[in-house]
């Protein structure tokens, strides 16, 4: 009697131990899989890790899908997280290509070099930052100076820029977003390097493009900004003038290419050192007219003049 009662717990112990073993092996397999596969099946499958800017992530996904369709021997994994995230991953050596919607910062470059990584820059597309408001907002055009005053907290009511008597709710991406940094430098500081104006403290920092679009869609007080490729049709895009009295320009492929729309920038991919092998083939393809056609389809601006 007593013996069987004692043996029982031991059975449990066995079950627990075998479960632990299963768990451990299950954990070990995917961890070892990434490196093991490439060595056991040489040259049949190349993996490219691609991470970074949320602005580029849809474009990078579209590229990856098309490219993998034509080249079944290449597997590309694309993740977002922000330009800073991608560059940090490149510096730490966990990705092959980092996507960035801004140029690499000096401190990041220093860190990369300290880690023995020399980032190489590729301009892969252009993007316009669209300033968006609720469709019911009567304001449809602003100068860069007005945008700067709105976001730095000098203008707090829509009446001051010709709108209704409503408080202005400023929306921005988080500080790890390349779009955020670009907007700060180009719009809030008006491109002046010595200017140290910051975002108004009560600017809402939303963790995703989706968050900004969602809030602008339902809140008539809100003003936000986002990559043109992400702005849905039901939001109102503000026409921006570079200076008082200048022409107010809506963002679009033609206005970005002729540089009349003032809030447009280059989009980058960074590799650790000069790319070779599958990564080089992929980057070469991205700069081809076939890949640049996808850029235009997604609402970004292709870098090749002859691309559609």
């Amino acid at each position: 009697m007593t013996l069987s009662a004692i043996i029982h717990p031991m059975r449990y112990a066995r079950i627990i131990i075998s479960l632990l073993v299963i768990l451990l092996t299950a954990c070990a397999v995917p961890a070892g899989g990434g490196s093991g596969q490439s060595s056991s099946q040489p040259q049949t499958t190349a993996y490219i890790e691609n991470k970074g800017s949320d602005t580029i992530v849809n474009l990078a996904l579209a590229w990856a899908e098309t490219y993998q369709g034509a080249r079944p021997d290449v597997r590309i994994s694309v993740t977002g997280g922000g330009s800073g995230t991608g560059l940090a991953a490149l510096i730490n050596g966990t990705v092959d290509i980092a996507n960035a919607s801004r140029q690499i910062k000096q401190e990041e470059l220093d860190q990369a070099r300290a880690n023995g990584v020399e980032p190489v820059e590729f301009i892969v597309a252009r993007d316009a930052i669209a300033v968006i408001v609720h469709p019911d907002n009567p304001v449809s055009r602003l100068t860069l100076r007005q945008l700067s005053d709105i976001y730095s907290g000098k203008i707090n009511n829509w009446t001051e820029v010709g709108g209704e008597d409503r408080p202005i709710v400023r929306l921005s991406r988080e500080t790890n977003s390349g779009t955020h940094v670009y907007f700060l430098e180009t719009v809030i500081r008006l491109g002046d390097k010595t200017n140290t104006t910051l975002f108004s403290m009560d600017t809402l920092l939303l963790p995703s493009s989706e968050g900004i679009i969602n809030e602008v869609r339902q809140n008539p007080n809100a003003i936000g900004y986002d990559g043109l490729g992400y702005v849905p049709d039901d939001l109102k895009i503000i026409a921006v003038a570079e200076a008082e009295g200048g022409p107010y320009v809506l963002p679009g492929i033609s206005t970005v290419n002729d540089k009349s729309y003032p809030v447009a920038r280059d989009l980058y991919m960074y590799t650790a050192g000069q790319p070779a092998g599958a990564v080089k083939d992929y980057l070469d393809w991205i700069l081809s007219s076939e890949a640049q056609a996808i850029v235009a389809e997604l609402g970004f601006v292709p870098i090749l003049a002859d691309a559609p």
Binding site: A13, T85, E107, I168, E174, T175, L206, N214
Partner: protein
């Protein structure tokens, strides 16, 4: 044979159990040590006055963490104001008032609610709660501390209900019978006898609720607007705030290992750790005291 097995078990199993018990201490110590190692350099890299300043803008080296601390505190406070009365009320109803069959239905439902991923609640918050709050309270935006507090209250309620209900349930039935025999009404019995008798368990429930609330990240990040504004007035509840957890979650992915920003984020983690330590120590000392008194009364 059997004897041999027995010996083997006697040797092994108690040690295994002991090891898993001590491992909790070990892990907490290791985590604390790690936080100290990564967080303390922030104190030398950033001047103390700059660290406890009111401007948080890390990419331009503004590392004032006060808005983040006050943001976390105001959201937690708001959530507790909602969750404590609601959670304990529900627990009292389930344990003292509801008929047996209703309780059998309610309890698993509440526990199911507790298992709801906070990201799902975050979606509800961003799509339903915050637009509604903006219109209903006529606020500039619905992404406020209040929205975060409401969501977190909802997240903490199941924890509080579940544990408080267990504690109330453990109060011997004879206590209630005694109270009724002395002519106490049902309410008097609940308020004067059952709840005080279950005090330590109810307090534990509240503290676990607080812990859950102050550490919650995802739902808060989605609905509080994340604007690092100092939240010291009661009206701050109706403005956007940025919590410590949301800051760590939003920014940890971007920072380069070993930078000032990285150390400051770990320092925030340290502050968070210390806050929950204080909450827990206070709670357990209160619980400890109340137990002693109960023992005195019983003896």
């Amino acid at each position: 044979m059997a004897q041999k097995k027995l010996n083997w078990q006697e040797f092994f199993i108690p040690r295994l159990i002991k090891a898993s018990g001590y491992s909790a201490i070990l892990f907490v110590a290791l985590i604390f040590f790690f936080l100290l190692r990564e967080g303390l350099p922030a104190l030398t890299e950033v001047k103390l006055g700059d660290l406890f300043a009111v401007r948080w803008y890390p990419i331009e080296s503004h590392f004032g963490i006060l808005p983040l601390i006050t943001g976390s505190l105001i959201v937690t406070l708001g959530a507790m104001l909602i969750a404590i009365p609601f959670g304990i009320g529900t627990a009292v109803f389930m344990s003292e008032i509801a008929p047996r069959w209703l309780r059998e239905i309610l309890k698993p439902l509440v526990e199911l609610l507790g298992g709801l991923p906070s990201v799902v609640l975050g979606f509800l918050g961003i799509l339903v709660l915050s637009p509604y709050l903006r219109v209903f309270l006529d606020l500039p935006t619905g992404l406020t501390a209040l929205a975060g507090a409401l969501l977190l209250g909802g997240i903490a309620v199941p924890t509080i209900v579940s544990i408080a209900e267990d504690a109330l349930d453990a109060v011997p039935y004879s206590y209630r019978e005694g109270a009724w025999a002395m002519g106490a009404t049902r309410w008097q019995t609940i308020w004067r006898v059952t709840l005080p008798a279950a005090r330590s368990g109810v307090l534990t429930a509240i503290m676990l609720g607080v812990g859950r609330t102050i550490g919650e990240t995802m739902a808060v990040m989605m609905v509080t607007g994340n604007a690092p504004v100092l939240a010291i007035a009661l009206t701050s509840l109706f403005h956007p705030v940025r919590t410590m957890t949301a800051t760590i979650a939003a920014e940890m992915g971007e920072v380069a290992n070993g930078s000032v920003h990285y150390h400051v984020l770990f320092f925030i983690g340290l502050v968070l750790f210390l806050i929950s330590l204080v909450v827990n120590v206070t709670a357990s000392s209160v619980v400890f005291k109340s137990k002693k008194r109960a023992e005195r009364v019983l003896s």
